[in-house]
Amino acid sequence: MAARWSSENVVVEFRDAQATAMSVDCLGSHAVLSGRRFLYLVNLESPSEPSRKIGRQSKWDVGTVQWNPHRSEAHVFAASSNQRVDLYSWRDGCGEAHTSLQGHTRVISDLDWSWFEPEFLVTSSVDTYIYIWDTRDTRKPTLALSAVAGASQVKWNKKNQNLLASSHDGDVRIWDKRKPNTAAEYVAAHLSKIHGLDWHPDSEFIFATSSQDNSVRFWDYRQPRKYLNILSCQVPVWKARYTPFSNGLVTVMVPQLRRENSLLLWSTLDLNSPVHAFVGHDDVVLEFQWRPQKEGSKDYQLVTWSRDQTLRIWRVDPQLQKLCVSDVQEDLMDGMSLTTESEKPLSSQESEGQQSGGPASESLQDQDSSLSAGGLQDSAAGSGLAQTLQQEFSLVNLQIRNVNVEMDALNHSCVVSAHFGSHQVHLVVKFPAQYPNNAAPTFQFVSPTTIPSAMKTKIQKILRDTSLQKVKRNQNCLEPCVRQLVSCLESDMTQEDSPASGPFVLSNPVTPSLQAFPRVTNTYGSYQDANIPFPRTSGARFCGTGCLVYFTRPTTMHRSVPPTEPTPRSLSALSAYHSGVLTPMKMRSESQSTLRLYSGSPTRSDKDTVSISSFYYKERLPISASRRWSVQTLHDWPKSRRFKTKREGTDYGNRPIKLAGKVIIQEISCLLPVHKTLGENYILNMNDIQETCQKNAAAALAVGRRDVAKVWALASAATNQDLSPDSDPDMETPWARHPFGRHLLETLLDHYSQISDVQTLAMLCSVFKAQAPPPDSYTLFGHHTSRSSVFPPHHARYPSYTSSSVTSGSCSSTSDSITTTTWNSGRDSEHANPWGESSPDDYRYVNQGYTDPREREREQHEMNKRLLDPANTLQFDDFKKCYGEILYRWGLRDKRAEVLKFASCPPEPHKGIEFGVYCCHCRSQARGTQCAVCKRLTFQCAICHVAVRGSSNFCLSCGHGGHTSHMMDWFRRQDECPAGCGCHCLLQSTF
């Protein structure tokens, strides 16, 4: 089924066209699309280039548009609009309406240029008249044929210049323009309205009619009582037209139905099943026309216009053409090489073309047609069911290993026989009359089934569920059921055969592809599966730091893509399996031929149900099969492909087909702004910033980054000792405030941000951080110079404040110039002491409480001194982290550590700390100073033995403590705990 690829060469979307009609000119160079406001002229040689427009002013849609089929008048086309026909001429990229033909009194239903006289045009209308116009005299029609009934179609005979045919409801009239008074012949062709009428391209007598009554009939007007042949469909047929090559016919469905968007190609010699479906349009096809064959080309091109507002061009190559000519059987059997193949169709075409005067009559299939014609309207009736079943049978793809399905549409049943290992299964499936409209078939095991009864029951349940699921949506269920059956059997048998095999080991490693897929396919049809995107078959990905990994299709599969050729968007385009593209059409074929037709070589069929590669490689199958595949797929390939096919054609059989391309890893680090060499050579010596800058400048120069080398020179200058800021805010404006200070650095950082040079960014940030160790709270411990003298003991004013050594450790408080380890030496021992604080509400950052303008100024000065704007510290940290990550990927872990040393490490967000105490009276846990249970104060001072109400301190190690002032006094002189527990509180509490 995968063979039913959309095979269009070209898809062009004309989103705003809203065109109702389309026509291709006789040179094959232009198509005209007629919308209500504009006529669009599409250059078929390069359809994607913007189309030219001809404006039109009419409130009516264009009914029919047609180019003059004569080369001498190839620039003229006629478009009908309500009661009028406008003649346009199109020359040199410009077009205009030059004449109007007015005569009809009701809407014009069809028009047709004569095949013999370039000036003659026939129009039909619901006003019951058929007018023949000579475009040299446009005042009135030269001839009027009165038909009494309104006409829907009118067509000139292609062989006899005097003959024309018109359709009126279900009748066809044949006119001879020399005898205009009355029709030459009446053909009561259909019971319902005729939508389409087409003369045989090579026969004067034969034409085809397509009708609302779900059939296409073929007629010889000399025998008006009996059709030559009938093609029965399950939906009304909009148009059925002969192909320019022999014995082909293309049909489309009635647009109003919106059920079936594909065009079907039939062989008039064998109307059992279509030979090809042109699948691709998302909406109904409004018009299709053949593009005249190019000189020297054996291909025909079908141009289609659909309501989905796309114009598509489909290539029909000789092999597909040949399908309409020769017998399917013979085609499969012979194994000729492609070289001879491609020439063969031509000759056979010609010879058959000669005798195609009445070949259709030979293939008349009376029995078949009467049977199907009888049961057309009533699909629930017996014959209707038989048709549905036959259609399903013809479409199922059941080439599964070890499984045989005998289908009997007349008895509404089929027998599935399968053997797996030592087991045999025979299952009779009976289809009820309403199937598949919410009526599930029954499943019954018959002898010689050998599986245990427990398993039978299990399988029966699974099958029932599967079928119900399908028929609820009026979908066919045979194939899903059979696949389900197979997967059940397979999994069970596998378990029996090799209980040891783990879940990853495939039951049959030799042919894994045949084993595993059915289990997937049984569900391949849920509504969600229709939208699985078409898989990537090539792609590129940046990996690591400087690699680009890409995988592609193998060169043998490579498509030299015509620019407009699209790749399908969904995987379901691979196969018509799930969507039932063909289901509205009735196919009365034997299943055998259809199976062969769609499944290619038997060995691949199973996999082909959803293999993506089939989209690309089919022409590389062994010849005998490839020819059948190629029907659907070769259209896309440019001529160079053919050459390849020929050249390599001989050794297909013994050469494995390579489906996976190579994966290429490419070094692209030269395109990146970061350099591994620089990562290795950069140094960060905080003790000698000058040297660091100079060495880094040299390193940058060595890799060719002259810009960065200059930046390092600048950095060297900016970090010069002479420029180091004075600690006194009153002395001078710090260098950072100078235009060449912070501003210059910011400009540099901006620049390197723009080119994403995170290496330079991180290094600059690190160096300038090292140069001016900021006094903020996040700097790493150890960079503090002893600035205690600079800072007045401002905490003294906040007696309740205690910097909590628990909360933030030794590098905690912002302005705490000395660490807690040396708290004894601090002049202000209070805020540095290790004692916890019992009223944590008081905890806050110091700098929130400044009141002294001098402090603020000093703080401001601290900020101003720095070349790196402290406001952006976090961003600078991100640079370093990112660069650190890159260094890590390079394996330069020491360098990473060096850089990350300069990243500030923000403390964990403070969640607040509360100390709980056990009440000294009732031993219950208490928070705060008062016990919730006994309502007494919970904590006694170790020195005065009085309950502590206000500020208290206690040792975190032994838990003793008391009034803050008492503790202060005690520890000025003592080391051990005042409670006499022997705890060295000062040492113990220091973490």
Partner: protein, 326 residues
């Protein structure tokens, strides 16, 4: 110098759908329609098959390496509706977890930034996005965003843990509170941004510009700048670059990078986020770079011979790379 440093013959039996190297660039994982995932050691230009992972029952669409701090872990997703997480232990690769919670093909997997732990986002054709979080002890917590994209989700990509815009305005002294965010693209032609709030995933933004299925999305890595960038590509052949300077992440502006003639399947950012690799149905790769004035230009142009290497694998001998600025 742009140069091919390795050409790996994967010996896959069917078409390859993804290839990705691990964090250090030492190993290559590939996946294919032949239902296998293969891992190669590609150090020093070699190609040693390390593992041939079988377990999927359909074509495998994508693979994703987790951050090495969690060990050697690889996730793969397949047409068979499964996501399998593979882990190497003592030199052998085994299934660590198999997730079967999707009702259609799983099209994309992407590991979150390591800061969030081991967390995997999976986008499926059933329209849902699953988030699998490793909670230790072989346990995976599953959160599912149902109907994230009607008809189907085709791609997911995580935001870097450093979400710059939101950082700068935070009160200093507090550790930034990273918000888990990712972007997804789907068959509804939309690009959607998702954000975790109070443990729940919520749709944050909906970006409209594409006229056909969105095939891939890529959130650019951050180097600490206050701009978030996302690339998206679509069946319609268009590649858009979305940027957001707004710290709240609410205003995204789209810029058309280029309109290609065929479907664009994949976008990938370089580590510094300044080069975008674009690949699609035309079997070509183009590299794009933003110039100083904010224009995107194709840099894999014929004029630069060194970069021309990119073209060697396209069959036509005359490279037809995109001209910049088209």
């Amino acid at each position: 110098m742009v140069s091919v440093i390795n050409t790996v013959d994967t010996s896959h039996e069917d078409m390859i759908h993804d290839a990705q190297m691990d964090y250090y660039g030492t190993r290559l994982a590939t996946c294919s329609s032949d239902r296998t995932v293969k891992i190669f050691d590609v150090r020093n230009g070699g190609q040693i098959l390390v593992a041939d992972l079988r377990g999927h029952e359909g074509p495998v669409w994508q693979v994703a390496w987790a951050h090495p701090m969690f060990g050697n872990i690889l996730a793969s997703c397949s047409y068979d509706r499964k996501v399998i997480i593979w882990k190497e232990e003592n030199g052998s690769w085994d299934k660590m977890y198999e997730y079967t919670g999707h009702e259609s093909s799983v099209n994309s997997v992407c590991w979150g930034p390591y800061e969030f732990g081991l967390i995997l986002a999976c986008g499926s054709s059933d329209g849902a996005i699953s988030l699998l979080t490793f909670t230790g002890d072989q346990q995976w917590d599953v959160k599912k965003i149902s109907n994230a994209h009607t008809i189907g989700c085709n791609a997911v990509s995580w935001a870097p843990a450093i979400v710059p815009g939101s950082l700068i305005d935070q009160p200093s002294g507090q550790k930034p509170n990273y918000v888990k965010r990712f972007v997804s693209g789907g068959c509804d032609n939309l690009v959607k941004l998702w954000k975790e709030e109070d443990g729940q995933w919520k749709e944050d933004q909906k970006l409209e510009a594409h006229s056909d299925w969105v095939r891939d999305v890529g959130w650019a890595p951050s180097i600490g700048l206050p701009t978030s960038t996302i690339a998206s590509c679509s069946q319609d052949g268009r590649v858009f670059i979305w940027t957001c300077d707004d710290p709240a992440g609410n205003t995204w502006t789209a810029k058309l990078l280029h309109k290609f003639n065929d479907v664009v399947w994949h976008v990938s950012w370089s580590i510094t986020g300044n080069i975008l690799a674009v690949s699609g149905g035309d079997n070509k790769v183009t590299l794009w770079k933003e110039s100083m004035d904010g224009q995107w230009a194709c840099i894999s142009d014929v004029r630069d011979e060194r970069i021309n290497m990119l073209d060697i694998w396209t069959e036509n001998k005359t490279p037809t790379m995109m001209k910049p600025g088209l």
